[in-house]
């Protein structure tokens, strides 16, 4: 990685994602920065990048910046194939975008874009109802229930070891349920999705957190399948389907994409 000596007086070029060259950009799309930079297109051959100028003297990463980055890419992905970049990619100039980024990796990018044609990402995210899942665990684990009895109403300091012991059991049981429920989601969408990636849980009460790559003509069926599951789990898991998103979980270094479970050969 070559990082230039930064001349902070010149704007740098922030890169959002890579798309086919034959796209039209609506004017006025707002990008990152304060005030938001205007998003524009850099083209080279049959590829394009969505970029905007940023002021190097101001840091990036405010919530507005994050929403602008993802919002732009998700809106684009609903219409055309997009290779989304991780937040924070800055390049020295449009020329570097065109030559080093687009032309320099033309074949890989063209192939990846063709694999994403008519496909889009959705994320299934579920969270356990706290009281519900604890009752479920305690109901199935008598030693844990006995521990719960011992600590209830007791002095916290005196029962610290017991509470740690109970907590460890609960954590492990909830993790086991998370695995089982994640598989249940995988089963429910099998045949509808082309690939899936399980995301690490973002909280102790996560029931499922999985990214799915789906053909756009299968989205209605996907919504229906997840909706059925949500009804089955009413009161137990608060289940949400987020999307359409750009295929963040399905691009990247070969090692990362190897982690994705292929449900079907990507043509």
């Amino acid at each position: 990685m070559a990082v230039q000596d930064t001349d902070t007086r010149k704007p740098a070029v922030y890169v959002y994602g890579i798309l086919p060259a034959d796209i039209e950009l609506e004017p006025g799309a707002a990008g990152v920065g304060d005030p938001p930079g205007e998003v524009r297109v850099v083209r080279r051959g049959d590829l394009a990048a969505l970029v905007s100028d940023v002021d190097l003297t101001k840091p990036l990463g405010r919530p507005d910046d994050l929403f602008a980055h993802e919002g732009l890419l998700d809106a684009a992905a609903a219409e055309v194939p997009v290779l989304p970049l991780r937040f924070g990619a800055l390049v020295s100039s449009d020329d570097a975008v065109a030559e080093e980024l687009l032309q320099g990796h033309r074949d890989e990018f063209v192939t990846a874009l063709s694999q994403l044609e008519d496909r889009v990402e959705y994320v299934v995210r579920g969270r356990y109802d706290e009281q519900g899942i604890l009752r479920e665990v305690l109901g199935g684990n008598p030693p844990a229930a006995r521990l719960a009895n011992q600590i209830r109403g007791a002095d916290p300091d005196a029962t610290r070891e017991l509470r740690i012991q109970l907590g460890e059991i609960l954590n492990s049981e909830v993790a086991a349920k998370r695995e089982k429920d994640t598989r249940a989601v995988g089963d429910a969408v099998d045949g509808l999705v082309e690939a899936s990636v399980v995301r690490p849980p973002s909280s102790e009460l996560d029931a499922v957190y999985i990214a799915l790559l789906v053909r756009t003509d299968a989205v209605d069926d996907l919504e229906e399948a997840v909706s059925r599951l949500a009804n089955d789990w009413a009161g137990r898991v608060d289940l949400n389907l987020i999307g359409p998103l750009a295929a963040y979980d399905f691009v990247g270094a070969p090692a990362a994409t190897a982690a994705a479970t292929a449900h079907r050969e990507l043509t």
């Binding site: 930064t6 994602g17 799309a29 570097a96 994320v123 009281q131 600590i151 209830r152 750009a246």
Partner: protein
């Protein structure tokens, strides 16, 4: 992108439509996923200060275990159904009946504090269709 009708309470009585990403989801997505120029391709990169974000990774620890135990303490006994051994009896009811959120939410909720008023993601203009489509 449509906004789902969120079910009220923690129950999740089935959702209506796919929903947009809240800040927590955005952080999980664009900070961890997507193409990385320096790891994947070599391009002339420029340095800029990136605001740091609180750790979002949940690592099981003693704090985690204590939070679970605390949550058990808050279980509403009056809602007991039959078949839960050992919890019914002359136990202190700590009056936390309506607390549906608890310390277990702490890790995930760091983001919600961070997000403050940013509940609605901003949406950029829609891209036009491909020429010739």
């Amino acid at each position: 992108m449509t906004t789902a009708m969120q079910p009220s309470g923690g129950g999740g009585g089935g959702f209506a439509r796919p929903n947009a990403s809240g800040l927590a989801d955005v952080l999980d997505t664009i900070l961890d996923k997507g193409l990385v120029i320096d790891a994947y391709v070599r391009v002339s990169l420029v340095g800029i200060e990136l605001l740091t974000v609180d750790a979002r990774i949940v690592i099981a620890s003693v704090d985690t275990y204590l939070r679970f135990a605390e949550a058990v303490n808050r279980l509403d006994i009056s809602q007991e159904k039959e078949g839960l051994p050992g919890l019914i009896g002359d136990l202190e009811h700590n009056g936390a009946k309506n607390k549906t959120k608890g310390a277990l939410e702490a890790a995930g909720d760091k983001l919600r504090e961070f997000a403050g008023g940013y509940e609605e993601p901003q949406r950029a203009g829609r891209r036009s269709r491909r020429e010739g489509d």
